[in-house]
Amino acid sequence: MAMDESVRKAVLGAVPSLRAFAISLCGNVDRADDLVQETMLRALANIDSFQPGTNMSAWLFTILRNHFRSEYRKRRREVEDSDGHYADSLKTQPEQHGQVEFREFKEALGQLPSDQREALILVGASGFSYEEAANICGCAVGTIKSRVNRARTRLAELMSIDGIDDFGPDEQTRAVLAGGRD
């Protein structure tokens, strides 16, 4: 099969963000990579159903998400990690963020209901509009907005954040300051 060069480029170009999305869905790098590979195979087998001029990335995300829902959710207990495995699945952590805070964030994200987590990732990290995210998830725009709002609120609760003060630049300073209050 000869592959159109523009299709090839678009598919390869989408791989990094497909992987990031897949990891956020299944919490495991190896499984995520399998998911991305299966997505690519499905996409290329059905490339005729892709409408040129529309967003290839959103189309691929939709395939990945639907495939995950239909196949991987059956194995949910195996797959889902409530225990912060997601935090361990990433090899590097940015130095500019407090390590403790970043770890807390990833653990909290792992505790969100999956529909809220995927909405938050699509809008907050993948850069899709609410409309695109709604298309990818097959739901109404208002549903996506509500899931994103609930996800943010829940994250803040899980991380015990009331205000910007809780994001201290330095864990030790924060502990000292907190300890000094009543």
Binding site: R8, P16, M40, L90, S160
Partner: protein, 60 residues
């Protein structure tokens, strides 16, 4: 250790009303985590897969 005090404060909070700074900070963490994976680029297995699927690539 970090959270006894913050958790106590937390009980007074009102869920559903996040400040802009908090939202911005959560968004920043989210993107940092996501970009961490994005910046790993395209692992070889995916380029190899496309090459295998694309018969033309085997011929040169």
């Amino acid at each position: 250790m970090e959270t006894a005090a913050t958790r106590n404060r937390k009980t007074d909070s009102k869920p559903g009303k996040l400040g802009r700074e908090v939202q911005a900070r959560l968004g920043q963490q989210l993107r940092a985590m996501y970009d961490d994976v994005v910046n790993q680029g395209v692992p070889d297995r995916f380029a190899d897969l496309l090459n295998r699927l694309d018969g033309n690539k085997d011929k040169h």
